[in-house]
Symmetry: C2
Subunit: 208 residues, 2 copies
């Protein structure tokens, strides 16, 4: 009866399962066993079964998991059964590349707003989006009721922009800025920093 809490680390793996399942569906498969899925994902069958079992029994003993209904179930669990609108702050190389990235619309993510401070950029378009001045950040985010923000600004402005987004009602931030952000507990943050990931790698590559 008690709504058992699903560990964060399990949630973080579900999108990867979904990605792989979508690929398999495109290949024309209808059913997959945890063993096969594990091999494609580089993990273990037991882990996949355990992870999925947090949400109920999707599989059929003897045959495995029906791909289509598992995809649907995961999409519902992750709340992907709708379009999520996103605001991007920072229209430099990175911000513009993200705004043009076709992988977003293909997977239910719509870049709705794009902001920058540079007056030379404001008013120009990236794809179908017009770059707006950050002065309008709060107003526009509130107006569209956007809950997810992407930070693509230099490190020194990241905390300020994050604070403003939170103030405007943003509840999740994906940051590309190379700094640690200090945010309220209630805001979900994720960081992407290729340098940090490469540095992690260098530890292991060093012994030569």
């Amino acid at each position: 009866m008690t709504k058992e809490v699903v560990p964060d680390i399990v949630i973080a793996r579900l999108p990867r399962y979904l990605q792989c399942l979508n690929l398999m569906a495109k290949e024309g498969l209808h059913t997959v066993s945890s063993g096969v899925l594990a091999e494609r994902l580089g993990t273990t069958a037991a882990q996949i079964r355990k992870d999925l079992s947090y949400f109920g029994g999707f599989g059929k003993q003897g045959s495995g998991y029906p791909i289509y209904s598992l995809i649907e179930a995961l999409q519902e669990i992750l709340n992907l059964d709708r379009i999520w609108q996103v605001a991007v702050v920072g229209a430099g190389d990175l911000g513009r590349a993200l705004t043009r990235y076709q992988g977003f619309p293909r997977r239910g993510i719509e870049i709705k707003l794009l902001f920058d401070v540079d007056p030379k950029l404001v008013g120009t378009k990236v794809g179908s989006i017009t770059i707006q001045h950050v002065d309008y950040l709060e107003k526009e985010i509130q107006h569209h009721g956007i809950k997810i923000g992407v930070l693509a600004v230099p490190a020194e402005y990241a905390q300020l922009m994050a604070d403003r987004m939170v103030e405007a009602g943003i509840e999740g931030i994906l940051s590309y800025a190379p700094v640690s952000l200090i945010l309220p507990e209630s805001v979900h943050a994720q960081h992407i920093d290729p340098v940090l990931q490469l540095q992690t790698m260098m530890y292991y590559l060093g012994e030569d």
Copy 2:
């Protein structure tokens, strides 16, 4: 005497500590306690102390950690006390943005090679790097003895290019392609996929 194994997850946190320490050094601080560092990083003091203690006692009771020498120690642990050369495969929006990214040279990462298949791109320059045809991938990587590759190609070519990089001697791959790669155990791989991170977030944002 037994060389205790440091957990992967600890290694993955060290670059973040280093990033924060560098920032503090720039602010003119000389010493930092685990508590203050933890607050800036959004973690706990105990975890930082435990992580650092895998490598020895860097701190001084009563005052904390001397920032400069801790930075140096971490750089040495992570093998950052030299320039790492990197090859980028894929010169689309993303590959070019990465090649231009100033954060790499600033932190000891040199993009040395950039490849693409598109004959319209081959021969053109991105910053000071000339785009080469992927036909020369193996030869060039071997010639320069490069150990780290960055994948910035469409999903359907990612596995093929990863295989070729491994064949050429690459030991670590940072992939931006939205697929799971199947690689030998000996190759260290990291993935960056903003969609997966956003989807993880959507699970938590969904209850509204």
